[in-house]
Symmetry: C2
Subunit: 160 residues, 2 copies
């Protein structure tokens, strides 16, 4: 079975190369613009009511996939499906971003973590009831994110 | 630009037709099984550590798309990108489900809301820090979900 998709838009981002991108959108205060192609503009009706949207896009600059990858936060090889690494069999990425403004077919967003020119596949409203879960365990990421918080605290105490 | 994807697995669900499915996975206590094809099994390494995963799949039984759709919870036409409706230009669906158990290439999950035989495109770990947002506004869904809660309370008071 082959599935054929066509981009519905393009993401304009201040990040011109992969190396510039923060590892997750929650770490990014950067703004950017989503251009939805004119033929799909009608599908944006009612989107203004949502403060956050989930953007679904295609990691177009990842050429091949690996089943084991070294994630940004780790030095060990991990199964690609236990990471958000772009080198996945179907190169689909998702990010939850803040919707700042809509002007016709253009969406101004905050929390940008993709490279400029990334093809957009879909937009979904972020709904806490649908998208949040309690009592969550996050496996190998547990220690990594804890250390990250610790380092951030150390850094901010240096700044004080 | 055309993007070609290939399923990495198949979702086995107790729901044999679209009419049986709850409108969102948070409303479902049903279990099901994700079969990841053997060639991708190595990519599941470390997945056991996560209590919840985001499954990305293809709405294979939706034939055409509409830019304006009538969502399950509403009587008005809404822009498809302001809904989770399956009749979208690229028929990608996402659900956050509980991972109960892994046996080799099989994942037992809870919170099933897709039809049996749905092609699986990707699996991502659910990570609160990446996937949760505060101060969320949910537009047209605000009243609908409030009424839902009210109705649930009425129902549960009947049960008491």
């Amino acid at each position: 079975m082959k599935i054929e998709l066509k981009p519905i838009g393009i993401i304009h981002s201040p990040f011109k190369s992969k190396e510039d991108i923060p590892c997750q959108s929650y770490k990014s205060a950067e703004t950017g613009e989503i251009e939805v192609f004119k033929e799909f503009e009608d599908g944006l009706k009612d989107i203004e009511g949502f403060s956050h949207i989930i953007i679904v896009y295609y990691f177009h600059s990842s050429k091949n996939y690996s089943l084991n990858v070294k994630p940004f936060l780790d030095r060990e090889l991990r199964g690609v499906f236990a990471t958000r690494h772009p080198r996945r069999p179907n190169r689909i990425g998702i990010s939850t971003v803040r919707l700042l403004e809509r002007k016709e077919n253009l969406l101004k967003i905050k929390g940008m973590d993709v490279v400029d020119g990334t093809p957009l596949l879909d937009i979904k409203p972020y709904v806490q009831k649908f998208d949040e879960r309690k009592n969550v365990k996050i496996g190998w990421l547990e220690d990594k994110l804890k250390n990250e918080v610790k380092n951030e605290n150390i850094n901010s105490s240096f700044r004080e």
